[in-house]
């Protein structure tokens, strides 16, 4: 596949992610931050997000697995996940976290467990999408092309 084609694919794919709500404008900001001096910025940040989120999700699972759930702690974790996902632009994860926090306030074990599942689900989805997207970008760069800027009407 030649570079132009790959670039078009990337653009379309990215747009889809935005339209489906996986990513929001914040992700665009990240892309805009990337420049020649920092060509792997997005990859780095996204990787950081993945590592951090997985750790948080583990902590959440453990916290909710306790006989006496410490909702404050759970809430703190979810709050953190909400913050990092919003900073990345992982919109659906962020929204799932918001719902999660509401149930934490109510101290509803069942609901929070469901929320955790939801958050995890969204997280793995967006992770998958982002990995695909980044792979596409990598291919373009490897082929000598540049990553097209997404012009979104946000």
């Amino acid at each position: 596949m030649e570079v132009g084609q790959m670039q078009r694919r990337l653009v379309d794919y990215t747009k889809t992610l935005f339209m489906e709500g996986f990513l929001d404008a914040q992700f665009l900001q990240l892309q805009q931050l990337q420049d020649e001096s920092n060509p792997d910025f997005v990859v780095e940040v996204v990787s950081l997000f993945f590592d951090d989120s997985e750790k948080l999700l583990n902590d959440l699972s453990m916290a909710l697995d306790q006989p006496n759930v410490d909702f404050k702690k759970v809430d703190a974790h979810v709050h953190q996940l909400k913050g990092s996902s919003s900073s990345i632009g992982a919109q659906r994860v962020k929204n799932a976290c918001i719902a999660f926090r509401n149930f934490c306030e109510e101290q509803n074990i069942d609901a929070t467990l469901r929320c955790l599942q939801q958050v995890k689900h969204e997280y793995y989805l967006v992770k998958n999408k982002l990995e695909t997207l980044l792979r596409l970008e990598q291919q373009i760069v490897a082929a000598g092309g540049s990553i097209p800027t997404i012009e979104m009407g946000f």
Binding site: Q29, L30, V45, D52
Partner: protein, 682 residues
């Protein structure tokens, strides 16, 4: 933001940086190069923020822990222009960090959080954050953060430039309260001053403020004491910058300086009243600012005092007396009953301390001292005041104790010893005083000092031990806390180090408060400790005082207690010395106070000379129950009188000022006969 000017490095970031790029004087491409410290425990956010800030051409330092951030800030007081901090952090609450920074370094702090709840944002406002960003933070929001730096500098500059214009002052005061100095009037003044200062003929305020590096007014202990005294004299509600400035009569101090300091002080007071339980907290926070920062430190101390004063309803007179005593009636007659002096000393401490710390304060001596006293006593209830008397004596003992504590600081001990000796006579303090002292101290941030002292004093007779123990602990703690600030303060050798930064009194208060929190008993020690340090660190200079102050302040942050310990020694003595020295200055009457002052100052590097004198005085004071004398003098010493008339505040001041040179000056001024500073191992 000026998007159109200058070159455009990067579309997003250059606009702000570029406007000045073209005509940046001395390569000042403000806001490019703005030194930002960003604190966030979320690594993803931290990385993104760092990148965004770099894109804005700021000099970014990132940090994932609040403790680390504080350390960095303290190590390099002037290393940053602005701080951005997350609200929710595991090791320290973001608001707490905010308070610390505001107090210690007086840097603009921006809070940020994914939490956009109204109450959280309100918390940011009440804690003094200059802005609140909701996550996810967009780069556009970061591009403008330089405005907070400029605004702050502008206000300071204005304060600096305009001193004495009534209207301005009032207006400024108002504005400062609103933290919004965008009034045209201000701008006008600011602009003119800016133009003067700024080489660039920039009409752009931004440029001016950004490039202006107005000398920061360092609110040393003395200065702060003066400030506090002035405010107390006027009444906290009626204290307007202009009048305060007039009362303080500090050359070079502008109404703006006073206005911003007043604002901080008011915040401090508000918090104190809100946190009735832990005045020390406030103190701590106040204390924390290191001297380096003009406002923070002194304000803290002063504030503490003020707050105490305000909250403690200590009669102005008492305060005055205390101050007077503290200021040192130079009479420095050892015979002054300690107990009385204690209280005063405590306050005086602050004053003298301030003075010591602040050579510049020279003229303020008396006033300052007085102020200090004002500040301090306020918190003390009248009865406490009485207790103070005892305490004063105890203080004397305490100081002695401190000295004997040796553990605290070898140096202090000698000093204390000396004090103790005279004390033997003044066993007045003994247990009863101790009790008072501790009592006093506990409730009031300030009293702590006395308590400490009192405690020590008593201990002398044997109670010391008991007293000491409790008092020391806090003190130690405080010291550790103080140490924090001290680090910064270390630079201020001469300055008795404003309470935390504010020389003398302020520190006392914070400590006191601090102690209170720690434990009622300890409280005493806290206060005491300072003196302890003073002795030891007479030579140490400010840092010590600073420590003392910090101690008080840090005490609050229990976390700092450890730090304090270390520093404590330093600070402690300072405080004590101050108190003593002040006592001495006052002469016999105030010997107690003087002594405390001396002690206080002793701790404080500036105080070393004084400290010695003070110590000596203290001793003598203790012995003679100078405290008593003080009380009597107090009557005369109205706030106004307190200053120079009755007490050798001036002497004390000069002593403080001269400490650096020698003990001698202090001697005659503070009547440090009793103390042989020499003995104090510095």
């Amino acid at each position: 933001m000026n998007l159109s000017s200058g070159k455009e490095y990067i579309s997003t970031a250059s606009s702000s940086a570029g406007w000045k790029a073209g005509d940046a004087a001395a390569a000042d491409q403000f806001p490019a190069g703005l030194r930002v410290l960003v604190v966030d425990d979320d690594p993803t956010c931290l990385m993104i923020l760092e990148k965004m800030l770099r894109t804005c051409l700021y000099a970014v330092t990132k940090c994932s822990r609040a403790e680390t951030a504080l350390l960095m800030l303290r190590e390099n007081k002037n290393g940053f222009d602005i701080v951005i901090s997350d609200v929710h952090m595991p090791d320290m609450d973001g608001f707490k960090l905010l308070e610390h920074i505001g107090l210690e370094m007086d840097l603009p702090v921006i809070m940020m959080s994914a939490d956009d709840g109204k109450h959280v944002v309100m918390k940011g406002v009440t804690h003094g954050a200059c802005d609140y960003l909701i996550k996810p933070v967009r780069i556009e929001a970061l591009k403008n953060i330089w405005q907070h730096v400029v605004r702050k500098r502008r206000n300071e500059w204005r304060d600096f430039e305009q001193s004495g214009s009534v209207e301005e002052g009032d207006r400024l005061l108002k504005q400062s309260d609103d933290a919004d100095y965008s009034s045209s009037a201000n701008e006008g003044n600011w602009k003119s001053s800016k133009r003067r200062k700024d080489d660039e003929d920039e009409t752009d305020e931004r440029d001016d403020t950004s490039t202006l590096k107005k000398p920061r007014v360092v609110w040393s202990v003395e200065l702060h004491q003066q400030f506090v005294a002035a405010v107390n004299q006027l009444g906290i509600d009626k204290a307007v910058p202009k009048k305060i400035l007039e009362l303080m009569n500090v050359p070079g101090l502008t109404r703006e300086n006073v206005a911003s300091h007043l604002q901080k002080y008011r915040l401090y007071l508000r918090r104190l009243s809100g946190v009735s339980q832990h005045p020390s907290n406030l103190n701590s926070s106040f204390m924390s600012p290191q001297e380096a920062v003009f406002g923070p430190l002194s304000s803290l101390n002063g504030l503490d005092l003020q707050t105490l004063a305000a909250t403690g309803q200590l009669p102005a007179q008492s305060l005055a007396t205390l101050q007077a005593a503290g200021l040192g009636r130079s009479a420095g007659k050892p015979g002054i009953p300690m107990p009385f002096v204690d209280q005063r000393d405590i306050f005086s401490f602050e004053n003298p301390k301030l003075r010591f710390g602040e050579g510049q304060q020279q003229h303020v001596n008396n006033n300052k001292q007085m102020n200090l006293l004002h500040g301090i006593p306020t918190t003390m209830e009248p009865k406490q005041l009485a207790g103070l008397h005892h305490t004063a004596q105890s203080m004397g003992n305490m100081n002695m104790q401190v000295a004997s504590n040796g553990s605290q600081s070898s140096q202090n001990i000698p000093l204390l010893m000396q004090m103790a000796q005279p004390q033997a006579r003044g066993q007045v303090i003994n247990d009863s005083s101790l009790g008072h002292a501790t009592r006093l101290l506990s409730p009031m941030g300030q009293p702590i000092l006395s308590n400490g002292i009192a405690a020590n004093v008593s201990t002398k007779t044997g109670i010391q031990e008991n007293v000491r123990a409790p008092s020391y602990n806090p003190v130690l703690q405080t010291s550790s806390m103080l140490n924090f600030p001290m680090n910064h303060a270390s630079e201020l050798p001469g300055n008795s180090f404003p309470l935390g930064t504010t020389p003398g009194i302020p520190s006392l208060t914070p400590k006191v408060a601090f102690q209170e929190d720690v434990n009622s008993d300890s409280k005493g020690s806290v206060g005491f400790m300072p003196s302890y340090d003073i002795f030891n660190d007479l030579n140490q200079h400010k840092p010590q005082n600073w420590e003392l102050q910090n101690i008080g302040m840090t005490f609050d942050a229990s976390q700092h207690s450890n730090n304090l310990q270390g520093n404590h020694n330093h600070s402690q003595p300072v405080l004590v010395q101050q108190g003593f020295s002040s006592g001495q200055v006052n002469g016999q009457n105030k010997s107690a106070t003087v002594v405390s002052k001396a002690i206080f100052s002793a701790g404080d590097s500036t105080g070393h000379a004084n400290a010695q004198n003070g110590n000596q005085h203290l001793n003598s004071l203790l012995v003679d129950g100078t405290v008593r004398v003080k009380s009597e003098t107090v009557a005369d010493a109205t706030p106004t009188n307190l200053y120079p008339d009755h007490f050798g505040q001036e002497d004390l001041m000069s002593a403080l000022l001269k400490q650096q040179d020698v003990v001698a000056p202090a001697e005659h001024e503070f009547d440090f006969d009793g103390y042989s500073l020499d003995n104090i191992p510095e």
